[in-house]
Symmetry: C2
Subunit: 322 residues, 2 copies
């Protein structure tokens, strides 16, 4: 039992089969998969605030590719980009913020990466479909003989039921979704606006590592487990999902182009400085040139993603919510 | 005399008036200003390989704004975005790479930042022209009461005469120009393709600090001095300027949109991995999802800038040049 997680002994069940190997309260198996974020989905589990939840996730290709012979030509695309869930978070109401603590992410030892003709940022070039099975061990991605990349497991898809009726889980928006933010790792917090009673949270599409861009359309796609805990901020919400790391907050915006995503991200970040310091638009806009870093999440999903990163030295959480 | 700079005593003049306060060989005063990169400009100085050069630069507003009363409405825009130079680098020939070591950057103690209606990433909003004079001291930008930002002096504009006849110094391209890369600081190296005999190098537009994006169109614009040293790589050149820091190389690409800039940056980075490892396009493209970080330089100049950042663990300089 891990005292830092504030568990009560009476609440606890031990799931000895989980690779995370800690005490958890609820496990959501990866068989509970959805392919859209929507309030129409029936929750597969009810979660209390403060409760620990382990969500098992399938890889983004639906676990269909086990060997390098398995061509993506034969892929059942209806089973791609799923997310595990949704879970109903008790007391979450429209207008609140769902705070998701990402306590741990564990990934399998075998991942897969694919190229898909016409896809990715260089989709305009002629190239072949290809599949690569990748071993992940000792904290490294074994990409090729002598070419090892340090693993940094992150979450590709994470979100809640959106304001609109339904958004495919392959896409993204103000509700989260397939944001592919390389910094969304264990130890971070995500703030999501709640649009539906219970929020209807789901997660999937883990990557053993990803660089900013995810440029070939996939990264090291891998099944795994996400250990989370939820809390709520009542009656206030962010205009876009907010990621919190040790040092900074970032609005995670998206748009049909990177330019549109960058504009959306900037707008909310500048507004936050106006609230934080009671500054005019002009002064906050100036400060943005010094203190808002526009960074690319991904360039290959149906919408492009840009984050506006602000040091905690300059802005507090309260100024990010409205 | 600084032995690490490999100066010969016989070559040295001491310019006691420079704020950098070290021994230099050549000083190019800021009165030598150009407003375009072009082979038509007469060089103001001839520089030998290995020689130290101190280029003094005016701020990007041409030093016209001295007080906060000085409205940008009265600005002479023909004196904006100048660069100091050009200097003729001996032995530089078309097809070579000009290597610019940025040994030091010193900036004045007073900078200026402006908002200009219709400009910057939020130029679609209604706002007023405004001017802010900013004190830079003790390593900090004193932006506002209690709001200090650590100074990180960087170069906004740096380049050589382009392949085409002339490019305004406010713009950017394969020759460099107004790239506004926040990482282009003292201690870095820039690799520029040479298109013209002598390269015709110029530099300007220093910022005391800038975040990725330079989103309001200006940052802390400041006069200053750049201490550089040149070398050449003969008969090979990069397709886009390359920035080298201690840990990584980055192609600095641009385009009419961020998406176009990101595509251009990715293309050359993926080609570099193909050369480095003798990999197929598909394999290098996959690796890009793990090991090429697409990062935003700026979103407000005539063309947008994106850098493709690659760790030195994975690529060598030789693979970046063709």
């Amino acid at each position: 039992m891990t005292s830092s997680l504030n568990l009560k002994a009476s609440d606890v069940k031990v799931y000895s089969t989980t690779r995370i190997g800690c005490v958890v309260m609820k496990v959501v198996p990866r068989s509970n998969v959805i392919y859209s974020f929507s309030s129409k989905h029936k929750p597969v589990e009810h979660i209390k605030i403060g409760e620990l939840v382990l969500l098992e996730t399938e890889d983004a290709l639906g676990g269909q590719i086990k060997t390098e012979d398995a061509s993506i030509d034969k892929l059942d695309w209806s089973r791609v980009d799923g997310a595990t869930g949704p879970v109903f978070v008790e007391d979450a109401k429209p207008g609140d913020t769902l705070v998701v603590e990402i306590l741990d992410i564990k990934v399998d030892e075998k991942g897969v990466i694919v190229t898909v003709p016409k896809h990715g940022i260089l989709g305009g070039k002629q190239f072949n479909p290809s599949t690569k099975i990748i071993r992940i061990s000792d904290g490294y991605i074994h990409f090729s003989e002598g070419v090892l990349v340090r693993a940094k497991p992150m979450i590709g898809t994470i979100g809640v039921a959106p304001e609109s009726s339904e958004v495919p889980s392959s896409s993204l928006g103000r509700h989260g979704g397939n944001m592919d933010v390389k910094e969304l790792t264990a130890g971070t917090k995500l703030y999501l606006p709640v649009f539906t009673e219970g929020a209807l949270f789901a997660v999937g599409d883990l990557h053993a590592v990803q660089a900013d861009g995810e440029l070939c359309v996939s990264s090291v796609e891998v099944a795994g487990e996400v250990l989370s805990r939820f809390s709520l901020i009542k009656g206030k919400k962010p205009k876009w999902p907010i990621l919190e790391t040790h040092d900074w907050y970032a609005f995670l915006a998206c748009g049909d182009t990177l330019d549109e995503a960058a504009t959306c991200a900037t707008e909310v970040a500048v507004e936050s400085f106006m609230r934080e310091y009671n500054w005019s638009f002009e002064k906050a806009y100036m400060f943005g040139s010094l203190a808002i870093n526009l960074e690319i999440n991904q360039v290959v999903d149906p919408k492009k993603g840009v984050r506006a990163v602000m040091s905690k030295d300059f802005v507090s959480l309260n100024s990010l919510l409205t």
